[in-house]
């Protein structure tokens, strides 16, 4: 599971969803893996605005990953300033860092814990399971 996905996941229990403490979920005993993939600069630029930046920074720091800049980069920050005019834009270091964090860093094993109710969701072989036991539905 990609860290980008974690930016759109919260507790599955209805009474939790509306509480701020349920988002983002907290990793526990996490095993990460890097799955390399091609960087698509246009894609990164287009999803920038859809990221919940402070929460993404929290996720990164809880995984022990390098800290992301305090404020959300602008699309222009993702372009290497040395890209020569007329040529295809090349990604800046910020873009490469973001690509690595959002799309190449995957949670392979571990748990995701709700900060409100403490419920733990298992992640196995890269797939998180949000099915709830009957008494919590």
């Amino acid at each position: 599971m990609k860290l980008l996905t974690l930016n759109f996941l919260t507790c599955a229990i209805k009474t939790c969803k509306s509480t701020p403490a349920s988002f983002p979920l907290h990793p526990r005993d996490a095993e990460l893996e890097i799955a390399e993939t091609d960087l698509n600069l246009a894609f990164l630029k287009s999803i920038l605005a859809r990221l919940l930046w402070p929460e993404l920074r929290t996720i990164c720091s809880e995984f022990g990953l390098p800290t992301l800049p305090e404020s959300r980069p602008e699309p222009a920050d993702l372009v290497d300033p040395d890209s020569s005019e007329g040529e295809e834009e090349s990604p800046s270091q910020t873009a490469r860092d973001l690509h690595r964090v959002l799309l190449e860093t995957c949670m392979r094993e571990g748990k995701l814990v709700c900060g409100n109710c403490g419920h733990e969701y298992a992640v196995k072989e890269g797939v998180a399971n949000f099915l709830l036991p009957a008494h919590l539905v």
Partner: protein, 329 residues
């Protein structure tokens, strides 16, 4: 779908349009059972079945339907979406980073989810229940929910499922400065229609809406008899694009269909009847019954409105009713 794993399973098609023998007392019993224990009823009559047939089911699901494709391709770059009930993830291959779109698929079946997440690495997939989605409210630009809602066994649960889909959609023009101005998020929902005059299933207006649809699976013996080798049905193993028969259909073209209140299905096993008993036993096809609620005309729109949504566009395509919906005001 690029990644199709080989398998020993072969599908046995039953071409038999069984008439529904609608019995009102049986039907009442089914309704009572479903209402008393919707989740347990669906666990046994939907989820366990998909889990058991996941691999085979997945190999027959590879061609996206045109309206779904059109809906996905119409999403502007920077759209984040959900594929609720993604199955093997066949719609996760329609759009990707090239189009600036990211999708999180979810399915109740861990086996199907694993297939989806390993075959469509541009996106992601999680195991989740449509009635308890683990997503923050009002966060997504779009959602698709294809061939899912008809598996809920009471109207209350079907409306709740539509409500859950509406709940994850963005509610108003949002986003930060400089972003393309967005309207509310939209979802495309597909359900199986009762009105299927042109299909071999024999359903039509006025018929029973709650039905059990079998999925028949056989596991052949390691060394197949000549008789079996000659059977044309093995084409399912790896159908090429030249076979158009599956691409527009929803599910199980040749399924035997029985009333949801019926308890037993005895699939005729033409291949085994001349085998020695021991061999025949090994090759007995297993029949899995899945529960479906067949939507009559107008019913999907009614459910959407009851769930608090607005129907933007709706229609009928190849045995299915579909609707593009958004959260109401």
């Amino acid at each position: 779908m690029a990644k199709i794993r080989g398998s020993d399973h072969i599908e046995k098609e039953i071409v038999m349009a069984e008439q529904h023998t609608f019995d009102s007392s049986d039907e009442r019993r089914r309704e009572e059972e479903a209402e008393a224990a919707g989740p347990q009823y669906e666990e046994k009559n939907v989820h366990e079945v998909y889990e058991a047939i996941a691999e085979h089911f997945s190999r027959t699901r590879y061609k996206p339907w045109p309206i779904v494709e059109r809906f996905l391709l119409s999403q502007p770059p920077g759209s984040i979406g959900l594929d609720i009930g993604c199955g093997n993830g066949k719609y996760l291959s329609v759009v990707g980073r090239q189009q600036g779109v990211f999708i999180i698929g979810s399915d109740r079946s861990p086996s199907l989810t694993t297939i989806a997440s390993t075959s469509h690495q541009e996106h992601d997939a999680i195991v989740a229940d449509t009635l308890s989605l683990p997503h923050p409210a009002a966060s997504f630009d779009f959602a698709i929910c294809i061939a899912v809602i008809h598996h809920f066994s009471t109207r209350e649960r079907r409306v709740a499922a539509v409500g859950e889909v509406l709940g994850v959609l963005l509610r108003k023009p949002g986003g930060t400065e400089g972003e393309l101005e967005r309207g509310a998020g939209r979802a495309l929902i597909y359900v199986w229609a009762l009105e299927q005059k042109n299909s071999r299933r024999g359903w039509d207006e006025g018929g029973e809406q709650d039905v059990m649809v079998p999925w028949v699976l056989t596991t052949p013996k390691p060394a197949q008899s000549r008789k079996e080798k000659k059977k044309p049905r093995q084409q399912h193993g790896n159908r090429g694009v030249e076979d158009k028969s599956m691409e527009m259909t929803n599910e199980d073209v040749d399924a035997t269909v029985v009333d949801a209140s019926s308890q037993i299905v005895n699939p005729p096993d033409a291949s085994a009847d001349t085998e020695k008993p021991k061999e025949a036993e090994k090759n007995t096809p297993q029949t899995y019954l899945r529960y479906y609620h067949l939507y009559r005309q107008g019913e999907l729109e009614e459910d959407v409105v009851t769930a608090g949504g607005k129907v933007v566009e709706s229609g009928y395509e190849k045995d299915n009713w579909w609707a593009i919906i958004e959260p109401g005001v």
